[in-house]
């Protein structure tokens, strides 16, 4: 048999380092999930496997409230930010540079460039004032804050799609006497749909995951699931928090998988 050919791609030790990295990426997650099946009252003991803490979390009214609030918030923020981002993407693509175009790019991406903690305290200052002036302390503040920082994420895939789409089909529609609205409704929008779905899902995940800004903007009793968990972590934690985290984790994995397949389907 011939000697194995010289592998130009091989680098000694790289495979080992990579596998070590993947192991390190999943070990903590595995530990978290394992402990969620712990029967014991506290995380410091291991008493065997059960669903005790999942059931306990399911019946915990604070967890129920926080979950519903998280979902309502994520759906509202994702919907609003996707609409705003789609409009903004239509206004900033497929055009010659015009005065203000660079400004728009920078402005739309601004939330990405400022540390969350800074946006958090900035909103705390402004919204606490507005809360006193108007007496309104509902979910509106959180929806506004989440919509703002979700816009750049929703904007990203939609803009990328518009950039790669050519104008021929829309021109053809216009030649056939379609009004601009009709051309948009029947030509552009269907072509844009996968990107809009991707943008919506990105925004949804980003909103669902947010801790810092929510922590500063929320009024009393307005915990979302992440801020509820952060509050619980301060105390002596029971495996219930692991059970919540495990369910949350499973939800994220499902969302990422769906997102991955939606995005991969080439048009």
């Amino acid at each position: 048999m011939a000697k194995r050919p010289f592998d130009i791609q091989a680098q000694p030790g790289f495979g080992f380092m990579a596998l070590l990295t993947f192991f390190a990426l999943y070990l903590p997650i595995a530990a978290l999930v394992t402990y969620s099946f712990n029967t014991a009252d506290s995380l410091s003991r291991w008493d065997g496997v059960s669903l005790r803490w999942f059931i306990s979390a399911w019946h915990n009214s604070a967890v129920q409230d926080a979950s519903v609030r998280s979902l309502v918030l994520a759906v509202s923020a994702a919907a609003l930010s996707t609409i705003a981002a789609t409009m903004a993407a239509l206004a900033t693509t497929r055009t010659r540079p015009y005065p203000g175009l660079t400004f728009k790019y920078a402005f739309i991406n601004q939330p990405l460039m400022v540390p969350e903690i800074v946006t958090g305290v900035a909103l705390l200052i402004v919204f606490s004032r507005i809360k006193v002036w108007t007496g309104y302390s509902g979910l509106g503040y959180l929806i506004a804050a989440h919509t703002a920082f979700c816009i750049p994420f929703a904007y990203l895939p939609i803009r990328a799609r518009l950039d790669s789409m050519d104008l021929t089909l829309e021109r053809a529609a216009a030649d056939l006497y379609a009004t601009p609205w009709k051309a948009f409704r029947f030509v552009t929008l269907p072509l844009l749909r996968p990107a809009i779905i991707a943008g919506f899902m990105l925004a949804f995940v980003i909103s669902l995951d947010d801790v810092v800004i929510t922590e500063f903007v929320k009024s009393g009793g307005q915990d979302t699931l992440p801020t509820y968990m952060l509050g619980q972590l301060r105390r002596e934690t029971s495996p219930e928090i692991n059970a919540i985290a495990t369910v949350f984790l499973a939800l994220s994995v499902v969302l990422v998988t769906v997102f991955y397949f939606v995005n991969r389907r080439k048009p």
């Binding site: 402004v126 801790v211 952060l230 994220s252």
Partner: protein, 306 residues
């Protein structure tokens, strides 16, 4: 009758106006719930703290002075505020170590993924993407499960008889560092992989043909070509590390604060909003400096490769 040129000009003007109308909702929301409030933070940093939090509308530069200095309560002299300096130092040094170590592990990982056959490559990328999209708080909490006193590492080491007492990793700087490396690692791997994917291995082969060793090929051929990915990854890791808040809060305990926690402290128990505002702006400036450094480097390497 308007000339054709005027009609065209008018159409273009209308087009630009429509584009402003169309982008208005996004711009307005971001102004109201992100950019606008940042301007207020600048104003607040020059006011006087109120007795129960909030501010008194009286101009003062004390907020800015106390970012790095403190006034002696007896003789009014100024001295460096050691507590703040050590927090600045912890933030900057831990972010730096996080960047270096994520690069150390992220580079071979990205290289490994990029050299798999295309089919399995997707699976590896997917495996990096999942932690990336998992809630940051949950990943921080997952790290806590590994390093806490009754956690995975200590249980394993004690079972093996290597140590008698659990190692105190939680509530130390090392815990914060481990947490940040763990949480931000995908942000390093993904951009490096994106550059590596486009790497032309014929150049590597040419290097070997010219009697280069593995290390020389890596240093003289691979590394320069993927430098944009390395720079992007480093910035993507360094910036959120600098502004980290959740990780030091959960893993560092109350004492090992980073800038994010110091800011929160001033808006909470510290009741010194102007100081909190001044530190916020300082943090933002540090981030902007890192970004500018990135933009300068990115445009330079773009120019170098045409």
């Amino acid at each position: 009758m308007a000339s054709a040129e005027e009609v065209a000009k008018e159409a273009e003007r209308r087009d630009i106006r429509d584009r402003w109308v169309l982008s208005a909702p996004a711009l307005i929301i971001i102004f109201l719930a992100a950019s606008g409030p940042l301007l207020i933070v600048v104003i607040y940093s020059f006011l006087t703290p109120g007795p129960y939090g909030g501010v008194v509308w009286k101009f003062s530069t004390d907020g800015w002075l106390s970012v790095l200095l403190q006034r002696d309560i007896f003789d009014d002299t100024l001295a460096f505020a050691d507590a703040h300096l050590s927090i600045f130092w912890r933030s900057i040094s831990l972010s730096f170590y996080t960047t270096v170590l994520t690069l150390f592990f992220g580079f071979p990982t990205a290289y490994f993924i990029a050299t798999r056959p295309p089919k399995t490559r997707e699976v590896w990328v997917f495996l990096v993407t999942i932690p990336f999209w998992t809630n940051l708080l949950i990943r921080t909490f997952a790290m806590q499960q590994v390093i806490r006193n009754e956690g995975l590492v200590n249980t394993a080491l004690m079972a093996l008889g290597i140590i008698k007492q659990p190692l105190q990793i939680m509530n130390t700087d090392a815990a914060i560092l481990l947490g940040m490396i763990y949480v931000y690692l995908p942000l390093m791997v993904l951009p490096i992989y994106a550059s590596m994917e486009k790497l032309d291995f014929r150049l590597v082969e040419a290097g070997y043909d010219l009697y280069a060793g593995r290390w020389q090929v890596l240093r003289r051929i691979v590394f320069p070509l993927i430098k944009p990915g390395v720079i992007a990854g480093s910035i993507l890791v360094f910036i959120p590390s600098l502004g980290a808040y959740v990780i030091p809060r959960v893993l560092g305990g109350g004492k090992n604060m980073m800038l994010g926690n110091l800011i929160e402290l001033q808006f909470g128990a510290g009741r010194n909003w102007p100081l909190g505002a001044a530190i916020s702006i300082t943090l933002m400036v540090l981030v902007m400096i890192a970004l500018l450094f990135y933009v300068r480097n990115a445009s330079r390497s773009e120019g170098a490769h045409g």
